[in-house]
């Protein structure tokens, strides 16, 4: 029997989001990723004796915007607390975090799985500083890079609402999409901007009490989220099946070997000795600040999804892809806004839907990272694509010609109108020209004409193809069809 038939997984996620502020959360060195080891440091983030933290308000603002976007309650007064443990990458021997008075409480992350809406409730969102990074050299020596020490983090703690590895992975994607929509983080899991710990437990289906959980740490890609949780579900199911107990412990996911290893048990768990950070006064968030933050929120992914599926007439699948990344959605919206025909519909199909097809099938197929859509170096800007769409919609270009023109636009960055003009690629709708071509084709293919007249009407497709060939692909296929039928 499949473990999932017998057991229901109960999963809560703790996601760390690195906030893309210019400087660190409590000091002024750069928070950017990828500098020379220990070059982006300062006395404060190194924890030098005598230094004191000064809160970066931009980091707080990012966290507030995130909280507002997920419908959390933003506390008007929150506090920072010290969380103590010893590790070389932790300069002060404690991490400044938040404990009993976090910045945000409640809220939910909304997303869709197989087009079904799903909501995972949040317990809290709190702010804290990141630690440095230990680097282990081959010779047994270890080094520490403190560039990351003090980079602002938001820890997003979910309720145990997640029920499968797939859901966990989709939840993570939703968090990434959201932080990118908000522009508060680059959301790169590979660079550690988004990291996840998962609390996983199993219970018999129908049981309402929670089982004993294990915490999986160090899950640093979408694939790992899925793999680690699936593996953990299997591990716990096997334990329960043979009557053994799940031990409450932290386990480290080893992606290379595809297994998790026990780190420390509940008894060995750190006593973090939290207490209010005496070097920082309580953080007050007033109504004016909240209002400013609220006003700065963009249209969020789920709001856009609703707009695309209702007003724009897109399928949930297409809308889902468009809102998966802010740059795609923004690009799409910009094309629609620039197009003269996008408000209309041809043959009952809304042009917005056709724009979506252009974006999804032509544009996205040509880039490896959707975020490049936001780049000014993109060979086909939204307005350029809108121009092309309009040329197709007004019949100047056939769909096929449009795609050819798009390919050329992508290649050399020229506008569609220019390509049409200089290379005379526009569609031929002149009935006289087309009729001449049709007569030529009818004369050259007596057998096919005979079969058509005998009732094999599908032969018309062959004849249309021949006319298209004759006209160098420029004839309007609809006109060709009509004229052929009349002549035959």
């Amino acid at each position: 029997m499949n473990a999932l038939d017998k057991y229901e997984p109960v999963i809560g996620l703790e996601v760390h989001v690195q906030l893309a502020t210019r400087s660190k959360i409590f000091s002024d060195s750069s928070a950017a990723f990828g500098a020379e080891p220990n070059s982006a440091t300062d006395p404060v983030c190194l924890g030098l004796p005598g230094t004191l933290p000064v809160l970066n308000r931009a980091a707080v603002e990012s966290a507030i915007r995130f909280g507002l976007a997920v419908g959390a309650n933003i506390r008007r007064r929150s506090r920072y607390a010290r969380k103590h443990y010893f590790y070389p990458d932790l300069p002060k021997g404690f991490q400044i975090s938040q404990y009993d008075e976090p910045l945000c409480e409640g809220g939910a992350i909304s997303f869709r799985i197989k087009d079904q809406p799903r909501q995972v409730r949040l317990t809290r969102i709190h702010m804290e500083e990141d630690a440095g990074k230990n680097l282990h050299a081959a010779a047994g020596a270890s080094f520490v890079d403190y560039n990351r020490a003090g980079v602002p983090l938001c820890e997003v703690v979910s309720e145990p609402d997640v029920r499968s590895a797939e859901e966990a992975s989709e939840y993570m994607r939703a968090v990434r999409t959201l932080v990118r929509f908000l522009g508060i983080s680059d959301g790169n899991m590979e660079e550690g901007s988004l990291r996840c710990d998962a609390n996983v437990s199993l219970r018999l289906r129908g049981e309402t009490k929670f089982g004993t959980k294990a915490e999986l740490k160090n899950i640093n890609s979408f694939k790992n989220v899925r793999d680690a949780i699936e593996h953990e579900i299997g591990r716990q199911a096997a334990l329960l099946d043979r009557g053994a107990r799940v031990v409450q412990e932290s386990r480290l996911w080893d992606a290379a070997r595809g297994v998790s290893v026990a780190m420390r048990s509940k008894e060995q768990a750190h006593d973090y000795r939290y207490f209010p950070e005496p070097d920082l006064p309580p953080l007050a968030v007033d109504e004016a600040w909240l209002a400013r933050a609220r006003a700065s929120l963009p249209e969020l992914p789920e709001e856009r999804f609703k707009r695309y599926t209702t007003e724009s007439g897109l399928t949930p699948q297409d809308a889902g892809v468009l809102v998966s990344e802010r740059d795609i959605a923004d690009y799409f919206d910009a094309v629609v806004a620039a197009s003269k025909t996008a408000g209309a519909a041809t043959a009952g199909v809304p042009v917005a839907k056709k724009v979506a097809n252009w974006v999804l099938n032509e544009v996205l197929a040509r880039i490896d990272d959707a975020r490049k859509l936001g780049s000014p170096d993109l060979p086909v800007s939204p307005s350029a694509l809108a121009e092309l769409v309009d040329l197709v919609e007004d019949g100047t270009l056939s769909g096929k010609l449009g795609k050819d023109v798009f390919a050329r636009m992508w290649q050399d960055g020229r506008r569609a109108a220019e390509i049409v003009k200089t290379e005379s690629v526009s569609q031929v709708s002149d009935a006289g020209v087309i009729e001449a071509a049709c007569q030529k084709v009818i004369a050259a293919n007596p057998d096919e004409v005979a079969r058509y007249k005998a009732g094999k009407v599908q032969v018309i497709g062959f004849l249309v193809g021949a006319v298209m060939k004759e006209t160098g692909g420029k004839a309007n296929p609809k006109t060709v069809n009509e004229i052929l039928k009349r002549l035959l």
Partner: protein, 496 residues
């Protein structure tokens, strides 16, 4: 060596002499360096004398004077810093072996402000390790001796700062006060010292012992000198989030402003059993002096005083255990030469680097904060701390300042209290409550015991009430001459 006689000289006089070219700052530096060389072997107040740095800075001040430039209110005056103040490029150890060799890459705010005001730093002063102690016997580099009696302690933890001023080994100094560490040594050494309002002087670049209690502040021979230093080091600092953004008072003016009608409260709880009778007598006399100068004296009550020492040791040990976690041998200071594992690196480095008092407080503080006990200890202490602060608020609704003894006893003998930490902790009995409340308080000399040991008078003000404190202290000093007495230079050879 000839040159100006700096023994007993005031900051105001020295600065005026530099400005008016009566002498050069360099001459003052040489005079102090000469005294340090001759006398400090016996006192032990300096951990580091930065002769080249002081000479270089003095020469710059002299050049600026010669060029007719403004050299600042403390232009050319030699001062010294408790070794808890972070100084760029100058070893800063906090009196601990664990920071031996630590050369900070940045300058702290208080010392930076002194330098910007023209003061010349002679060096770093001895202290109890990490400011933990009341006798300066907890220094990893040996004790400081009281210039009035070399077999006695100078008080602590800013023992070096008080003794150096008392022995005229610098014109003024900075110390820190967490539970009494400025006021108690000032009392025991017969000098003036102020613990300002919490947040009045920046803690940026002041090595933390107990963050919510650490108060940097000045020592001077006179109340005016303390006021002059306060005017320079006080003020908002964006690098310290607990720093108060309020304008700095006119402290020197307050010293001479008189106290006609000033309401002086005398807390009953500060005149109880255990006080040395000679001290009580001196403080009572001081109250008469204040009354004669125009103050209205009345009794007040600070009912939670009896809980102050216990509260203090819960708060300060918890914060100390946290603040001292960063000394792990990874980035700076002492690192054990023999460690086979990470755990061993930590335990050996910290075992070797910390003295017994920091170890005791780390263990106490770790206990106080452990899971499940927060409410019983640290949380409770914060509640009582609020009550103690409320006591002061209530008292200041009826008074402008409070007057008490600074220390229940005069300077005790070296070694006398080392065996009994609890007895040592009680040396702070009159100073911890104002520290917990964060209110400004000052100690100045108000007499001597028959054995010739200084007695300290504590004047406490409301939050940001430094000017009231300076008014009262100034009026008392103007009516007495205790501050003009100096310890003898002659017997200052090391005993034994």
């Amino acid at each position: 060596m000839s040159g100006p006689d700096v023994r007993g000289a005031s900051i105001a006089a020295l600065a005026e002499g530099v400005r008016s070219r009566r002498w050069k700052s360099r001459d003052l530096v040489e005079a102090y360096l000469d005294r340090i060389a001759r006398l400090d072997k016996a006192v032990g107040s300096y951990l580091l004398v930065d002769a080249p740095g002081a000479r270089g800075h003095a020469d710059k001040v002299d050049a600026a004077v010669a060029a007719g430039q403004d050299v600042g209110p403390l232009g050319g005056v030699p001062i010294a810093l408790k070794d808890i103040f972070v100084t760029r490029g100058i070893e800063t150890t906090c009196g601990s072996k664990i920071l031996r060799g630590f050369i900070p890459p940045y300058e702290g705010t208080p010392s930076g402000r002194l330098a910007a005001a023209g003061a010349v730093n002679l060096g770093k002063l001895n202290m109890d390790e990490f400011a933990m102690g009341s006798s300066n016997e907890n220094s990893s580099r040996g004790p400081v001796r009281n210039p009035w009696a070399l077999d006695r302690v100078p008080g602590g933890s800013s023992g070096g700062s008080a003794a150096a001023v008392a022995a005229s080994l610098c014109a003024g100094s900075l110390g820190t006060d967490t539970g009494g560490s400025i006021r108690q040594p000032a009392a025991l050494c017969g000098v003036a010292g102020m613990k300002p309002t919490y947040g009045r002087v920046s803690r940026y670049g002041v090595i933390a012992f107990a963050s919510s209690l650490d108060h940097p502040g000045p020592f001077g021979r006179t109340v005016e000198d303390v006021a002059a230093l306060m005017e320079v080091i006080a003020g908002h600092d964006p690098l310290d989030s607990t720093s108060i953004p309020a304008p700095v008072g006119r402290y020197r003016e307050a010293v001479g402003a008189g106290i006609a009608g000033l309401r002086v409260g005398v807390p009953d709880e500060y005149f109880q059993a255990g006080m040395d009778p000679e001290i009580e007598a001196s403080v009572r006399q001081a109250l008469e002096v204040l009354a004669k100068a125009g103050a209205q004296i009345s009794r007040v009550s600070l009912p939670h005083t009896q809980y102050a020492v216990a509260t203090y040791y819960l708060v300060c040990t918890a914060e100390a255990a946290s603040n001292l976690a960063r000394y792990d041998g990874v980035r700076f200071g002492h690192r054990t030469p023999q460690a086979a594992s990470l755990d061993e690196l930590y335990s050996r480095t910290r075992g070797e680097g910390f003295g017994s008092e920091p170890k005791r407080r780390i263990i106490l503080g770790t206990f106080v904060l452990r899971a499940g006990y927060y409410d019983a200890y640290y949380g409770k202490a914060l509640l009582v701390r609020r009550k103690i602060a409320d006591d002061f608020s209530a008292a200041f609704s009826a008074c402008d300042v409070l007057v008490t003894p600074t220390s229940p006893v005069p300077a005790f003998r070296l070694g006398e209290r080392m065996a009994d930490p609890l007895q040592m902790y009680l040396a702070d009995i009159y100073t911890v409550a104002p520290a917990l409340a964060g209110v400004p308080a000052m100690s100045q000399c108000c007499g001597f015991t028959k054995a010739g040991l200084p007695i300290g008078l504590q004047i406490i003000g409301p939050p940001l009430g430094e000017e009231a404190v300076f008014r009262a202290a100034g009026a008392y000093q103007n009516a007495t001459d205790w501050h003009t007495r100096l310890p003898d230079d002659l017997p200052m050879t090391a005993p034994r």
